[in-house]
Every structure is written in C-alpha cells, then in structure tokens.
C-alpha cells in the first residue's frame, strides 16, 4: 500500500465508495428512500443524506495523525473553492487547540466562536469571521479555552446543517486523534477528505480513521508532503515545503503564491472536488535536473520580489 501512496500524490479515490461528484440538486441514490422535503424540520443523524437543492456539501478534513496538514489543507482548499465562485465556510472543530484562525491570519478578528452559537449567546452570523481577501469565504472559529467534551455530535450536526443553508461548501477542520473531537467533527459531515503523508505511521492512522468513518460516507485521500527526494533523489519538494511554512506562519494562503507547486496542486484538488476531471500529476516523474533548477529559480525570484 505504501508504494501506491508514494506514487500518487494529491487527491485520489479511496478503494471503498467512490463518490459521485454530482451537483447537490441531483438526488443521491441512497437518499431516495428517505423523506427529502426541503421544508421538513431538522432531522437527527440522517441529515447528511438530504439532497435538498438549497443544501451545501459538508466535508470533514481528517487524518488520525496530527501534523499532516489538515488545517493548512482546509484553509487553502477553502480559498481555492471560493475562487471557483463558491460560497465557502471553514469550520474549526479543534476546540481547545484551534489553529485555523492563525493559519488564515484572522486570529485578531475572532470575537465569538461555535460554542457561543451552540449555547445561544449569539447568532451564527455574528460568530462568522469573513476572510480578508475573499468575500465569499468565512471562518467559524472554535473555542480556545473550552473542552471538546462540551459538545455533542448532535449539536455539531445541527450547526453544520445550519451552515449548509447558506454556504455551498462547509469544510470542517477535524482535530487529531479519534476521540470525542473527531466524532464531533465527523457528525455533521456528508463526505470526508483524509489527509495523510507518505510515512508509515501517518498511513496506519489514516487507515484506522477510514475504518471509523460511517461506512456510507464517501471519503477521498490527499497525500501531503510528498518528498520525491526520499522516494528518489531530488529536492524540489523541500523548496515547496518552505513556501507552505512561510505562508502558514504569516496567515497567507499558499494558493496565492505564484509558481508554488503546492498551491497549484491544491487548486487542482479544489477542481476535482467540484466535479472536474483533472488527472493526478506524478511528482516523481519530473524529478530531472532541469525542472529542479527551474523551481529553485522561481523560488528565489519570489523571494526577491518579497524582499
């Protein structure tokens, strides 16, 4: 398995259920048996199967192992999807250890959070923080000084449900691990993206998480931090890595960095999520001397432009 993983960077379908990336208005087959009148009051756990025309898609970004890039992927995918014209909200489900606000550079604008909404201290609209650049991208922050155990999966379900009324896409940034925080983050989602890296422990954890998702939840995979240098010789990806760290520390999106291979990859992933047929790029293929030099040149140019 690990060999496949190394050679197939980016978004690929997991062996199990290949998702039909149909527009939300097109009924999903399993949902046919359920009552789907849009006027129906809030349902409990079956909500994620309701294909009502107004409903957006709720996607949980998870991994099992921490530090594989869930938050960075969430922020950048959100930006790329917003650029594709969608109304997007990114939802930080990492109560107590939130970071999505920092990665998006919005930490100073956070006043209220998801728990305030759940506990009735404010309206959902008041807790949303709009992105600096993209008007159709918003953040729903997590509480920092609270516990994950203070939320129930049903509450999360309701909250995500409410978000899908106004947004085309809800991206839920899941905490590491498989405890209460994980169960909460998955509760409201209709689809999953599993982020992993080409390392034995990350793949093992991703496999465990794939087994813990509801069996009928479509899940797809992002292979992050592929270092072809470790697969073969070459250092392009470590250059690219640096851009991600810099962007993340500064609260900028790597999708906005011209010439960043990571940014381009994330835009392709966003396209695939919206149903476009975009082939997976084999990163190990271009590992010749020339493209290595080219990307180094590009990197020093973008650095020069910054300085």
């Amino acid at each position: 398995m690990s060999n496949d993983v190394r050679e197939q960077p980016e978004l690929i379908a997991l062996p199990a259920p290949v998702e039909t990336v149909s527009p939300p208005s097109e009924p999903v087959t399993e949902a046919a048996s359920q009552s789907t009148a849009p006027t129906q009051p809030k349902e409990q756990r079956v909500r994620r199967r309701v294909p009502a025309a107004v409903k957006g898609r709720a996607i949980v970004i998870t991994s099992g192992k921490g530090g594989v890039g869930k938050t960075t992927v969430t922020a950048n995918l959100g930006a790329a999807l917003a650029d594709a014209g969608k109304r997007v909200v990114v939802f930080d489900a990492d109560v107590g250890l939130r970071n999505l606000d920092v990665v998006m550079g919005l930490e100073n604008r956070v006043r209220l959070h998801a728990l305030d909404v759940l506990e009735g201290r404010c309206e959902l609209d008041e807790a949303l923080v709009r992105d600096r650049v993209r008007r159709n991208l918003a953040l729903l922050p997590a509480a920092q000084n609270r516990d994950k155990d203070e939320i129930e999966p049903d509450d999360m379900n309701d909250l995500v449900d409410e978000l899908t009324d106004t947004f085309d896409l809800v991206l839920i940034d899941c905490p590491a691990g498989i405890e209460q925080g994980f169960r909460n983050a998955v509760a409201g989602a209709g689809e999953a993206i599993i982020v992993t890296t080409p390392e034995v422990s990350a793949v093992r954890d991703a496999d465990r998480v794939a087994g813990l998702l509801p069996h009928d939840m479509p899940a797809r995979l992002i292979i992050n931090r592929v270092r072809p240098g470790l697969v073969r010789k070459g250092t392009m990806m470590s250059v690219d890595d640096k851009e991600v760290i810099v962007a993340t520390n500064r609260g900028r999106s790597v999708v906005d960095m011209p010439g960043s291979p990571t940014g381009q990859a994330l835009r392709r992933i966003a396209g695939r999520l919206l149903g476009e047929e975009i082939p997976i790029v084999d990163l190990t293929e271009k590992k010749d001397w020339f493209s290595g030099m080219l990307s180094k040149l590009r990197f020093s140019q973008s650095k020069a432009a910054k300085g």
Binding site: G64, K65, G66, G67, V68, T71, G96, L97, N99, V102, V103, Q144, D147, K148, D149, P175, A176, G177, I178, E179, Q180, G181, E199, V200, S201, R204, D205, R208, R227, G229, L230, S238, K242, I245, V246, T248, N249, K303
Partner: protein, 262 residues
C-alpha cells in the same frame, strides 16, 4: 517516588513526540539505564512502528491496566540495545477504555522497576492526554518553531500544573531562521518561558530512519544521535550547558546559525 516518569507531549500532532520518545529511550538505554517506553496513544499507536517492534506485540497496556497480564508479559525487549523495553498501546480499543487512575498505576509500577519511564502521549488535550499525563512526574514538551505548534505547546503547559516541563525544539531549519522565515530557539524559549532540553534540526534522515523502524540514536555515528544522547543526559539531571556541547560540532554550527552571525 523517584521522579523518573516523563511524559512526552505537545498538544499539536506531528511535531515528533513518538520519534523523540523512541530516540530518548534508546539514548537513555545506551547510557546504561533500564528504560520502559509506554505508548499511551491507544487506538492510534505508532511507537511500535518507529522502534520496529510491531510484529512482537502480544499483550498491551490495556491488558495490563485491566489485569489480564503481568507487566513482564506485555513489555517487549528491544534486542538491539540492552535495557530498552516497550509497553505497546492497544490498537483496536478506545482511549476511554483506560482511566487516569489505571494509567497512573501502570506507570508507577514501571517506575519502581525501571530507571526511567517515558510516556508517548497522543496528540490533543482530550482523554488520552489526561491518561498519559496522569502518572508523570515531569514533562518534555516537543514543539516546532511554528505559530500553531507553539500556541498548542503553550496551551499544554497550562494544563500540566506545577510539573517541571522542558522543551525540545524540533524540526529547526537554520536557513529559514536566518532568512527570518522561522522563529529562532531563543524566540521559542522566550514565548514558552521554560528550559530548553534540546534542539533538533529538520533532516530527512529522521523520516527515513523512522519509516524503517530504526531510531537514529541506535547508530552512534550519526550526527543526530549525539543530540539525543545529550538530551538524555540532561534528563538524568546532568547540567550540560548548551555552549560546551561541542562534541560533534553540529551544535556549534546550529547555534551560530540560530543565534545569527555574519
């Protein structure tokens, strides 16, 4: 109590807790100590993989906590270095299947028989974290010079109460520190306000050795091995000032790069 039970924690995942636990364990064993490594990441265990011992697991820490086996039945002896033992986590259970009191009992029992007990904590600050911390005398906080890792480390420090906690600054990229794109070790020390146990540069060697289940510290010829050996000696109470470390030249180079010079 001997004060020899250490929890390796971080808040954020993927900063290198498991790799640090494995390498500190190997280093302590190479210093002649009897060391037990406890994998507290029930359900998402990985310490066995990093040590290359995954095929030898019979009983695990949940079996021990629930009295289904004796400590010596669950402990796996590492044949590559004398004195190193692994207490594996269960993979199919939940973190909720063990209580804080049970976990504390397990590590206290190990603390009597071993010179040092290192607990590999799961990411996050949920039940698994509370379990891992329950029996520990001291903490080692692994972090990276990155905004989110530091923020999470700070949060965890606040949850450790009065325990002594020392910092391992992992994955430092000297060239990025120099160019101003990464926080320096001094910045980290200042923000977290705790003692630095050690600094580890970001090298592909670590990923490679971790993937192969062969901790880098097993090979005394490696540059990184010397760093872990020094950290282990500090853990044992030796006072080794950062500057006089020059046994391998790496520290000095790193320090020059990190502190900044012409």
């Amino acid at each position: 109590l001997k004060g020899n039970i250490f929890v390796i924690t971080s808040g954020k995942g993927g900063v290198g807790k498991t790799t640090t636990t494995a390498n500190l364990g190997v280093a302590l064993a190479r210093l002649g100590k009897q060391v037990a490594l406890v994998d507290a990441d029930i359900g998402l265990r990985n310490l066995d993989l990093v040590l290359g011992l995954e095929k030898r697991i019979v009983y695990d820490v949940v079996d021990l906590a629930e009295g289904r086996c004796q400590p010596r039945q669950a402990l796996i002896k590492d044949k590559r270095v004398a004195g190193l033992f692994l207490m594996p986590a269960a993979q199919t259970k939940d973190k909720e299947s063990v209580s804080e009191a049970q976990m504390a009992r397990v590590v206290h029992a190990l603390g009597v028989d071993f010179d040092a007990v290192l607990i590999d904590c799961p990411a996050g600050i949920e039940h698994g974290f509370r379990n891992a911390v329950a029996g520990a005398d001291e903490a080692v906080i692994v972090t990276m010079p990155e905004v989110s890792a530091i923020r999470d480390a700070d949060r965890v420090l606040g949850m450790l109460g009065t325990r002594r906690a020392r910092i391992v600054v992992n994955r430092v990229r000297p060239e990025m520190v120099r160019s101003g794109d990464m926080l320096s070790v001094d910045d980290v020390r200042e923000i977290l306000g705790r003692e630095i146990l050690g600094v580890v540069p970001d090298e592909e060697e670590i990923i490679d050795t971790t993937n192969r289940g062969q901790p880098v510290t097993l090979d005394s010829g490696r540059r990184l091995a010397a760093l872990y050996m020094t950290m282990a000696r500090r853990l044992l109470g030796e006072d080794i000032p950062a500057l006089e470390l020059g046994d391998d030249g790496l520290w000095n180079r790193l320090r020059r790069m990190v502190v900044g010079q012409r």
